[in-house]
């Protein structure tokens, strides 16, 4: 291993990169666009806060207090619908999926039940909803839960089983804070895999590898300089993504030594996979297709974009066989949950995987082409 040679290679690769505008766009700008796009889309759904339209036909102090209780206990963002409006038409016209109607006489019935213990006194809350909406049933479940609590309170009997909500998070986090580590992991994977596959096949096809094999550079120097190059780009790319995330979404992420460690492990793993792929897919087009075949399932099934808990059971099991899953989990453990033990466990898993594929990659990389 010769550090001078490794640095010389790194300089040439970085110079080439800085002069290749398209590559720069896909490496740096593309992940940022993803963050901006998905961040903006999901900002309104942060922390499962549902939008709820309420029509208060009673217009009393009690009905207003109940609506406030829904806002606090049900985690709803309330929009009031004027009593004179037809609620069904409102749902159609405003593309909302649910309007809750508090009937006239709500306060009167409540007083009768609460102060005169009139068990015949009741109110009927109406849900006007759009059944084609995928999230409306969840909203109604939450509403039912809140109303069950109210019923129990009014019955005067203290609950036998009480529940208390306690978040696994030390502070309130939003979707974007879960999303950014996933995009970092995905961007570094894409960068390492495609850059290795593209450059190895291109340099081989152009005969540059053959020329290099007549110089003192060794395969180890070459591969290590490639790792260093991908790591440098990974760090630049991550810094750019974090800066945009801080500036636009004011994210709250914990930055520690785990971040560069996971970037490095991500680079090692996917440079290794890239080297193995280029051993078998020798033409640029077939190598790119093979890289796509590896990266696409990783992107969508390993939890970069959304939690794997949303997937069917067998896909969740499959996700746990994907190396990117452990980079995602590790980065979230370090950056979101600040859980060093979980980060260490994920780092160990991806570290073993990276070591194996990297060694296989070195073995697979041949400079002499005795075909």
């Amino acid at each position: 291993m010769n550090p001078r040679i490794i640095i010389a290679n790194l300089v040439v690769k970085l110079l080439s990169f800085s002069r290749e505008k398209t590559t720069m766009f896909f490496v740096i700008a593309f992940p940022i666009i993803l963050i901006l796009l998905f961040g903006t889309i999901f900002m309104s759904q942060d922390n499962v806060e549902y939008h709820l339209c309420v029509q208060d036909l009673d217009q009393t102090k009690s009905s207003k207090e109940s609506i406030n209780a829904l806002e606090v206990n049900g985690n709803f963002k309330i929009t009031m619908v004027h009593p004179s409006i037809n609620a069904t038409q409102y749902v159609r016209d405003n593309k909302v999926n649910l309007v809750l109607i508090i009937p006239k006489g709500f306060e009167r019935s409540l007083i009768r039940r609460k102060f005169f213990n009139d068990l015949q006194a009741s109110v009927t809350i109406t849900y006007i909803y759009d059944p084609s909406s995928s999230s409306v049933s969840t909203k109604m479940d939450v509403l039912n839960g809140v109303l069950a609590g109210v019923n129990q309170e009014l019955s005067g009997m203290p609950p036998f089983i009480k529940s208390v909500k306690k978040s696994i998070l030390t502070k309130k986090y939003r979707f974007i804070e879960f999303f950014v580590p996933g995009i970092i992991a995905m961007a570094v994977m894409t960068l390492s895999l495609f850059s290795t596959v593209d450059s190895e096949t291109e340099l081989r096809q152009k005969g540059i590898i053959r020329k290099l094999s007549t110089t003192p550079i060794t395969r180890t120097d070459w591969i290590l300089s490639n790792i260093l190059y991908q790591f440098t780009l990974g760090v630049i790319c991550t810094i750019a993504m974090l800066l945009v995330s801080y500036a636009v979404f004011h994210v709250s992420l914990h930055i520690s030594a785990w971040l560069p460690a996971f970037i490095l492990l991500d680079v090692f793993a996917f440079v290794g996979i890239g080297m193995i792929l280029t051993r078998f897919a020798r033409e640029a087009q077939s190598a790119a297709a093979a890289a796509n075949a590896v990266s696409l399932p990783m992107m969508f099934l390993s939890g970069s974009f959304f939690p794997i808990e949303l997937m069917p059971g067998f896909l969740q099991k499959f996700a746990k066989t994907l190396p990117l899953f452990y980079v995602n989990e590790g980065l979230r453990a370090a950056m979101v949950f600040e859980d060093n033990m979980a980060a260490l466990r994920d780092a160990a898993i991806i570290g073993v995987f990276a070591a194996v594929v990297f060694i296989l990659g070195i073995i697979a990389t041949k400079w002499e082409d005795d075909k």
Binding site: N2, R4, I5, I7, A8, N9, V11, V12, L15, S16, R19, E20, K206, G207, I208, R210, K211, L212, S213, T214, T215, P216, I217, W367, E368, D370, K371
Partner: protein, 316 residues
């Protein structure tokens, strides 16, 4: 330990197979220090395979190859810093400039004091020093390749088809650079399928065909040994010239432009033919007399080689 020898390269019974394909078949030759050695042969003859074995890129199937007194299969790390290579179809990093490319390769050889400007001057690329590789013409790219091959001041320079695919002007530009190397006394191993290139530049030429070296010597020797005749071309002849030559026992060839070419072994035959034409009152517009070149030697030798091939190649 390096053995001091008068030869830069010694190839002894080299054979290289790729599966069932016999690319190089039991060839032997030597290259003296300071000479320009041309390996001449058609595409697929085994030139590049041979040169890549000598350059330590490929391993021989059998035989022994010694470069600067060192076995190429055992001493790659000692050999590489002492040789310079322009591979066939040389290419480099698209977005790196001429100067940066030379600097990069000098760093690979750890030549921190390499004379980058001197190399740029040597290959006449001063005006293009800041140009990126992708913007260079074919000839300029080859000249950059030669500069890179010289970056470590090598004792032996390998140039694998340095002018293939270049237009005549670019080819001449590369030849000028190669003549400069010859003047500097470098040992140059040149593979080419351009006869005029070998004839112009080489001290020794080895002709390879179907993996076998079929002739070797200086261009003059090869011509003397294998094509010892004069070629006479009578231009725009009338019908009589062809008949006169045929009756004299020669084998004239008439082309579409009414030119007749005839080969004679002795100079006195020229006078005899001219006298016979004059006496017969035959007419022609011009006469070219020339000695054969390496191309004719090559055609003759490879033609003979084909005829000497095993019986299955013979028509039944």
């Amino acid at each position: 330990m390096t053995k001091e020898t008068e030869y830069a390269i010694e190839v002894d019974k080299l054979t290289k197979r790729y599966g069932d394909l016999l690319a190089v078949n039991d060839i032997s030759f030597t290259v003296s220090k300071g000479e320009v050695f041309a390996f001449l042969g058609p595409n697929g003859a085994g030139k590049t395979t041979t040169v890549e074995v000598i350059e330590t890129i490929r391993t021989p199937t059998s035989g022994k190859v010694t470069l600067l007194g060192m076995d190429v299969t055992k001493k790659k790390h000692d050999i590489v810093p002492r040789i310079g290579v322009l591979p066939q179809g040389f290419s480099s990093f698209d977005r790196i400039t001429v100067r940066e490319t030379i600097q990069y390769y000098s760093r690979l050889f750890c030549c921190m004091n390499a004379d980058i400007d001197g190399l740029i001057d040597l290959v006449n690329l001063k005006d293009k020093a800041k140009e990126q590789y992708k913007n260079l013409s074919g000839g300029l790219k080859q000249r950059l390749g030669i500069a890179i091959a010289l970056v470590n001041d090598p004792e032996v320079v390998f140039l694998d088809e340095p002018t293939t695919g270049l237009d005549p002007r670019a080819r001449h530009e590369v030849w000028e650079v190669l003549l400069g190397l010859k003047e500097k006394g470098k040992t140059v191993f040149l593979t080419t399928h351009y006869m005029e290139e070998a004839e112009l530049l080489a001290d020794t030429v080895a002709i390879i065909s179907k993996g076998k070296v079929i002739a070797m010597g200086s261009p003059g020797d090869l011509i003397e040994r294998n094509a010892n005749y004069l070629a006479l071309t009578f231009k725009s002849v009338d019908g009589k010239v062809f008949e006169i030559l045929r009756k004299m026992g020669f084998e004239p060839v008439l082309d579409n432009h009414k030119n007749v070419e005839v080969r004679v072994e002795h100079t006195y035959d020229v006078q005899k033919i001219l006298n016979a034409i004059k006496d017969a009152g035959a007419l022609y517009l011009g006469l070219d007399i020339r000695k054969p070149n390496l191309e004719e030697v090559f055609l003759k030798l490879t033609g003979e080689a084909l005829r000497e091939n095993p019986p299955e190649m013979e028509p039944k």
